[in-house]
């Protein structure tokens, strides 16, 4: 049997598409193959002899270096995900495998690292889907894609972020994406719904309390701001908080300081704060229902999630995602939505937004055993709804018809009280008047 010669090994190393480099015991690069040159953009003549971190420039070099772990523990590591930064300041997603490098006698010469460029895979995946996917969020909507484009910069900035959007538009998902894209990703992400808790309970949850602070406080409890140290805290429905609580939050945002209930000790928190609301906070400030100073403090970066009715192009995509997920969970083989069901969804106004769509699909899964989710499998309020008149093939007209229907319904519910109807719809009164005029809605 022919044995593989060193020159054959060299040829193999030069022909593979994975980058390979080796280091000695002082972390200096001793070999660098052709693919490593291509991926890093660094010529081997420049790389050899340099410290591996000066060449490789991965975000794990300084901390959790896979090669360092291998050298320390004499153990190989396979496919650790990381990214490197090339000389054009581009971040290249890669996977890394490491092993010890030994000679024929088994003496350890150093370490070997192989790495694979995942940039193309990511790009192709996006092209194949014809969509833009970002941290568990998928959209074909231009507005959403613009949002995705700036998200990484927002995440890295560490600034306080205000996310606004109707209920069910994915505010928490967006906040999670910001957390995962930031360098706080390894730390905790804690969401809390401020609207669901009364003032004193919200305060004790967030700031913690001292033993004896109130009747049931048998022992001291640290607050969520302590738990979220170095991490991110999402204050959902911040528009529902009282003015008294807003003052305490303002103090925290300005100085990073807070005092647990019943305590005199001043604590500090470096948790990143993301606030979310379905309300128009600027409008609330105008009407003195939200503190202006707090508004400016949290409104450093403002992100607005459009409602689902303004991005109808996402309904088929999201429905498909939910069906895929439900198929995995239930073990069913549902192939999609019947055309009549899809048509019904496209003319629905989705006051509950993406959450409502998810619930509709879940409802469909209960009634549909296999094949397509038909009209009969949809919830009654969709099945029995008279179809609005829509110009064929026009998403805009479908949207307009949905909007008109929603306004009529709001006016009916509020006894034609325009102010109350506007509040119900989550829009300004003047916007409602404009829309009433646009749709030729006459007074009841």
């Amino acid at each position: 049997m022919n044995t593989i010669t060193p020159s054959t090994t060299h040829t193999i190393l030069e022909s593979i598409s994975d980058g390979v480099f080796t280091v000695d015991h002082s972390w200096r690069i001793t070999s660098f193959n052709r693919a490593a040159e291509t991926i890093t953009g660094i010529d081997r003549t420049e790389a050899i002899g340099r410290y591996c971190w000066e060449v490789f420039r991965s975000n794990m070099c300084e901390g959790d270096c896979a090669l360092k772990r291998t050298m320390k523990e004499s153990k190989a590591y396979v496919s650790s995900s990381t990214s490197i930064i090339n000389s054009r300041k581009e971040r290249i997603p890669i996977s890394v495998s490491t092993a010890l490098l030994r000679d024929d006698d088994g003496t350890i010469l150093g370490g070997v690292e192989t790495f694979r460029d995942h940039t193309l895979v990511e790009e192709l995946r996006q092209e194949l889907n014809g969509t833009f996917e970002f941290c568990n969020m998928a959209s074909r909507s231009k507005k959403m894609q613009e949002l995705f484009r700036i998200l990484e910069r927002v995440a890295i900035s560490g600034s306080t972020v205000l996310i606004s959007g109707e209920t069910g538009t994915g505010k928490e998902l967006l906040a999670r994406a910001i957390h995962h894209l930031s360098s706080r990703q390894a730390e905790k992400f804690i969401p809390i719904n401020c609207g669901a808790l009364p003032d004193n309970l919200l305060e004790s949850e967030l700031f913690g309390y001292q033993k004896g602070a109130f009747t049931d406080a048998g022992k001291s409890k640290p607050g969520l701001f302590t738990a979220a140290q170095n991490g991110t805290i999402l204050l959902d429905e911040i528009g529902e908080t009282s003015q008294a609580f807003q003052i305490k939050l303002l103090r925290l945002l300005e100085s990073g300081e807070y005092t647990p209930l019943g305590s005199t000790e001043v604590l500090t928190s470096n948790a990143r704060i993301i606030a979310a609301t379905h309300r128009n906070l600027a409008n609330m400030v105008e009407h003195s229902r939200f503190r202006q100073d707090l508004f400016y403090r949290i409104n450093v970066v403002s992100l607005e999630l459009p409602p689902l009715r303004e991005r109808l192009e996402d309904i088929p995509l999201l429905a498909e995602r939910f069906i895929e997920r439900m198929n995995r969970v239930t073990g069913k083989q549902i192939s999609g939505l019947a055309p009549s069901s899809m048509e019904r969804l496209l003319t629905h106004t989705f006051p509950g937004n993406i959450r409502e769509l998810e619930n509709i699909i879940e409802h469909g899964f209960i009634l549909c055993t296999n094949g397509l989710i038909a009209l009969d499998h949809l919830p009654a309020y969709l099945r029995n709804r008279p179809q609005p008149v829509v110009a064929p093939g026009s998403i805009q007209s479908a949207q307009a018809a949905g909007e008109k229907e929603m306004i009529l319904s709001a006016l009916e519910q509020t006894g034609n009280n325009k102010r109350a109807a506007a509040a119900l719809l989550g829009i300004h009164k003047s916007t409602l008047f404009r829309k009433i005029k646009k749709h030729n809605i006459t007074s009841h």
Binding site: T40, G41, I42, D43, E46, A47, R50, Y51, W53, E54, V55, F56, R57, S58, N59, M60, C61, E62, G63, I84, I85, N86, S87, R88, K89, E90, R91, E152, R153, A155, I156, S157, G158, S159, S182, S183, R184, E187, N230, N270, R272
Partner: protein, 128 residues
């Protein structure tokens, strides 16, 4: 004027985005009057520290475009893709020498490093 450098042990941190220590040195009459190290836990806090410390110049290793844009928007000059001993680099900088010998491999072909090829940075010019 103030210059800053992301450091790791006694070297320039290889990647700004994952650096955990920031050195800020105050320069007076061409000498370091005061130097302070700040430990940071995240890239966000690192950028925030830079933006709020009246720093004129940042010397760092590799840096992503996202982070560089944030810093440059705050009118902080960046000399990136620098590697080596922090004191030697500071000394070279204070003596108005080019930082070309400290560039990371593969960076001399990029237009970005033109400023390192014997040219003074804006901050060096201001220091005179």
């Amino acid at each position: 004027m103030k210059i800053s450098m992301t450091v790791w042990e006694n070297r320039v941190s290889p990647v700004f985005d994952s650096a955990r220590s920031l050195l800020i040195a105050e320069i007076m009459n061409g000498c370091i009057a005061n130097r302070t190290n700040f430990e940071v836990t995240t890239c966000g806090t690192l950028v925030h520290k830079l933006l709020t410390s009246s720093v004129d110049l940042l010397i760092c290793g590799a840096i992503s475009q996202e982070a560089a844009t944030l810093i440059e928007n705050a009118e902080i000059e960046i000399v990136a893709f620098i590697a080596g001993n922090q004191d030697q680099i500071l000394e070279a900088y204070l003596q108005n020498r080019s930082l070309q010998p400290f560039t990371m491999p593969g960076c001399c072909y990029q237009p970005y490093s033109c400023k390192l090829q014997g040219l003074q940075t804006r901050a060096q010019w201001r220091m005179k």
